[in-house]
């Protein structure tokens, strides 16, 4: 690995100061995404700011109907310690689509900061209306995860302090699905779908995918709008599939060409939605 220096701040303020100290300074959370980038020479690092001693980043707490999850909380701690409303989907994700070796290292903040389609946690957080709490030199502020992903470059000098996620999801049903050749590789697709049905009508729904635009995960609001308010028997799988196809522009790679990703994401989303609607 190339040479770099390391700082180990014990407070968030100190970490933010280090991060603002010039070019080539990056925070390290779990390291599962960052270390391979450094090894491959894809990221030139002058200094790593180790966040593991920053206590504020390890917190999980309830806040008025939402739960705050600190940036250094690992994926396994998230499922162990945070019994939030979407726990079934989270358990499904951790149980069926990742491994203990990854979930013991990978962190919530690291997944958010990586901001790419390989981070399966992102569609889960998008479907959970997550907002990202950021710490910078001018203090803390928060933005929706969607906004964060769309304007990732604007937050370069800030640290992901954590995410706030809606806690109560009464009456909702969620589903998670993913296909990948191995735990750590870019998946073929990753989709999270949720809906609340009352009197056979779709009151509300969520559709989030790993490949919304290139390698950026996103919520498919056009698809949600097309389904919301409809009677369950009026939601046609073929229409949902078509709406998803029109909403996404996935990146392709050597395993999964873009058109394949578009096709399979559309079909799977339509099937998952039928399932959660009980159609």
């Amino acid at each position: 690995m190339p040479r770099f220096s390391v700082s180990r701040p014990s407070s968030l303020r100190e970490a933010v100061e280090r991060l603002s100290s010039g070019e080539g300074v990056y925070p390290i959370a779990g390291g599962t995404a960052l270390i391979p980038l450094i090894k491959k020479g894809l990221l030139e690092v002058r200094e790593l700011v180790d966040l593991s001693s920053v206590r504020e980043l390890g917190a999980i707490r309830r806040e008025d109907g939402r739960v705050f999850v600190g940036g250094m909380v690992t994926h396994s701690e998230l499922v162990d310690a945070a019994p939030w409303g979407m726990r079934n989907v989270l358990r499904d994700f951790l149980r069926n689509h990742t491994s203990p070796h990854v979930m013991n290292l990978a962190t919530v903040g690291g997944s958010v900061a990586s901001s790419t389609s390989s981070e399966d946690l992102l569609p889960v957080l998008l479907a959970a209306d997550a907002e990202v709490v950021l710490a910078g030199r001018d203090g803390d502020h928060s933005v929706s995860l969607e906004d964060y992903l769309a304007r990732r470059g604007s937050f370069r000098a800030e640290i992901v302090e954590g995410v706030r996620v809606r806690y109560v999801w009464d009456g909702w049903r969620f589903s998670f699905s993913k296909l990948s050749v191995s735990v750590r590789r870019m998946p073929a697709f990753c989709v999270v779908v949720g809906a609340r049905v009352s009197d056979q009508t779709v009151e509300d729904c969520r559709v989030a995918v790993a490949f919304a635009d290139g390698l950026r995960p996103g919520r498919l609001r056009d698809v949600e709008d097309a389904v919301r308010g409809k009677r369950v028997d009026a939601v046609r799988a073929a229409d949902v599939e078509d709406a998803v196809r029109r909403s996404i522009r996935p990146a392709g790679d050597v395993h999964f060409p873009s058109e394949y990703r578009r096709k399979v994401t559309s079909r799977v989303t339509a099937l998952m939605l039928s399932e959660v609607l009980g159609a």
Binding site: M1, I28, N96, P100, L105
Partner: protein
Amino acid sequence: MMVELKVNGRPYRVEVAENELLVDVLRYRLGFMGVKQGCGEGDCGLCLVLMNGRPVHSCLIPAWRADGSDIVTVEGIGSETSLHPVQRAFIDQGAVQCGFCIPAAVLIGKWLLDRGLAGDRETVRWAYRGLLCRCGSYLRFEEAVAQASRGG
């Protein structure tokens, strides 16, 4: 940077560089050759060790991050005269082909056994999902862990 580690119950003090990874310190500095170098980016799982009782990829951990940790490698379990139940079961079930991933596979089996998870086949499959066995011995791993969970 000075790092203090306990490896297989024995304390070590090692001066490490900022860019040195735990896998390299364990393998080349301390001589634990059971910690294998594979893909180097957390995909294959061959560098797996138990750190504070949990399986992790040592190729993704800067050595300074392991300061104060308790690490177990395959050299720390069983002995030539008294095999660990998982090692015994791997032999009985013929779970070893080329052998390259076996140190990691045995450590995963030990972790499952220690946590009381070895009796559940779905959990065993989940635990082995992060390990790339080129020979495809997963079914034998599963049988070996099942044998160990039954007490041999």
